[in-house]
């Protein structure tokens, strides 16, 4: 029961050499139609499947992409899904390595290196620019989701400020003029969004108001409470991410503030959270598929096309309008 058929078994059954079988099964040119047929029949008879480990070893090229992720992060989940699909398409296999309690980032990356991945795709890594640069000297690296100063690391990231821009345009077009921003705290991502907010408000000739926050629901609840405690409600709130926005909305609901009747709310990330029917949050979508595609493409172009210069792909997010935004009451 333990013995899966080997390449040699298929070869014997088809009456050809293992080399021919290998070629046929991988669809390489060479073997004649007749050989092809016999091999395929034999393989089917034995329900043969190649041993990936052996293939990987024998190929000089490994055709393996390593992906570092935090399996608990829903956005990573979305990205991984797309990376898999894109890699498949490009003829690469994917090895996933996740952070766990006992496995920090360096450890998870070593695992990928031990599999001799030809390139790494790192989802929102914590490593410093320096460390990433050092890593990139060993193997092509693509970082998704945050800027990296390193000279050798490819980057794919959304234009955070543009996303906020879109959100504000939407609100302003609806007629809003008192728009508060709930901040996401330290970090390059939050900074980009904050900058986008300030810029767009200035451009529109409106007064910016930034409340502190931290990308968690609790932060949102705190900010929401602060907002309802003020004498004058803003007409709209833009949050630095969806979790914050959900927290804000929760505080509003509990205080009897109607969304979007009294205040409109916009989130950022277009997470599954935002899409839930009872939340139905207008949010900025980062286009995970496009990010994944770009990342795989960056890796592949290093490997297959021999690109050596650095690329930074900045993707333009777009607003997904849902039920949490409406014209302001007075309008």
């Amino acid at each position: 029961m333990d013995q899966r058929p080997r390449l040699a078994d298929v070869a014997a059954r088809a009456g050809v050499s293992t080399a021919s079988v290998s070629l046929v099964l991988r669809g390489e040119p060479g073997p004649s139609a007749e050989t092809r047929e016999r091999v395929l029949a034999a393989a089917a008879d034995l329900s043969y499947r190649a041993d990936r480990t052996a293939s990987l070893l024998a190929r000089r090229r490994r055709h393996l992409l390593g992906v570092l992720l935090d399996v608990r992060n829903p956005f990573h989940a979305e990205l991984v899904e797309e990376v898999q699909i894109e890699a498949d398409r490009a003829g690469y296999e994917v090895v996933l390595s996740t952070l766990t309690r006992d496995r920090d980032e360096p450890r998870a990356i070593e695992t990928l290196l031990d599999f001799r991945c030809e390139a790494l795709i790192l989802l929102g890594p914590d490593a410093s620019d320096d460390e990433l640069d050092k890593l990139a000297a060993q193997v092509p690296c693509v970082v998704i989701g945050r800027p990296v100063a390193g000279a050798a690391v490819d980057v794919v990231r959304p234009a955070e400020d543009v996303g906020v821009d879109a959100a504000l345009n939407h609100l302003i077009t609806l007629g809003h003029d008192r728009i508060t921003f709930v901040d996401g705290g330290r970090g390059a991502v939050a900074a980009g969004r904050r900058r986008g907010y300030r810029r767009a408000m200035r451009r529109a000739g409106l007064v910016a108001e930034v409340l502190p926050g931290d990308h968690t629901e609790e932060g949102g609840v705190r900010a929401g409470r602060r907002i309802v405690a003020e004498h004058v409600l803003p007409t709209a709130v833009v949050a630095s991410n969806d979790r914050l926005a959900v927290g804000v909305m929760d505080a509003f609901v509990r205080a009897g503030v109607d969304v979007p009747g009294q205040v409109s709310v916009v989130g950022y990330d277009d997470s599954t959270l935002a899409r839930l029917a009872h939340i139905d949050l207008t949010s900025v979508n980062q286009d995970a598929p496009a990010q994944a595609r770009s990342a795989v493409e960056a890796a592949v172009s290093r490997l297959d096309a021999g690109r050596t210069f650095r690329t930074e792909t900045v993707l333009v997010p777009h607003l997904v309008v849902r039920g949490s935004t409406a014209p302001p009451r007075s309008a």
Copy 2:
């Protein structure tokens, strides 16, 4: 830059054979203290790391566990994390294979087989009992999270009914007596919970009331609306999972029904959702670490200890009391 050192390089540098290096690096007995030292020094000098692919191939035993998961499922994420940790501990490596849009369950499983995993751990698979049984004939399989009738598949699952029991005990002890259950629809898991509810209510001499639902927030919202529309509110609601519970609470909040002031709510799964500060939902915890541990143990006992009979591990969940439950108003 591309050439990572090989075993042979370390051997050459240490002035010993590759066999010795292999033994030393894996901590096998044999080599003398002096050899050990020289090898380790050489390996460190070259910052050598073994090629996993080659090791895997050369070892007759692969020491590889394949895990099938849906990377988008947060509970799977928790399980994976623990499986990794446990596998590490047992000296096994883990390959993750996730469902995606283009990769259905059979396909994802094939990938695992192609890596020649020695055993598979399947997280809540959709495959029929028959298919699972067929698979188990090829390779030891452990299914987590649902019962399987197949004769050869090991199962690790929580005792759903016991969890609901705990929830009801908690509520009854608090003094509740009108306790409505929001159902999770078809499926073995939901059925177990429903059964637990009915049994516990009967035992307590209370009248069971089951509202239809489907394990989503929307289902919860619908159920919640139905509840508030009734003339007499129940004193407590038990939902078949956390998402339902969150939906119910959302409907309550919007209708001005205070939780837990007027109605207590209990969820099931103790998901990250339940733990959010502003939700703070009393819920039943399934102990992901224990499930993962049992699953790995089941796999390993087949592989290393040669177990051939089937095991079914039923874990007892426990209630995590949070802020969504309190004594009923009248009490």
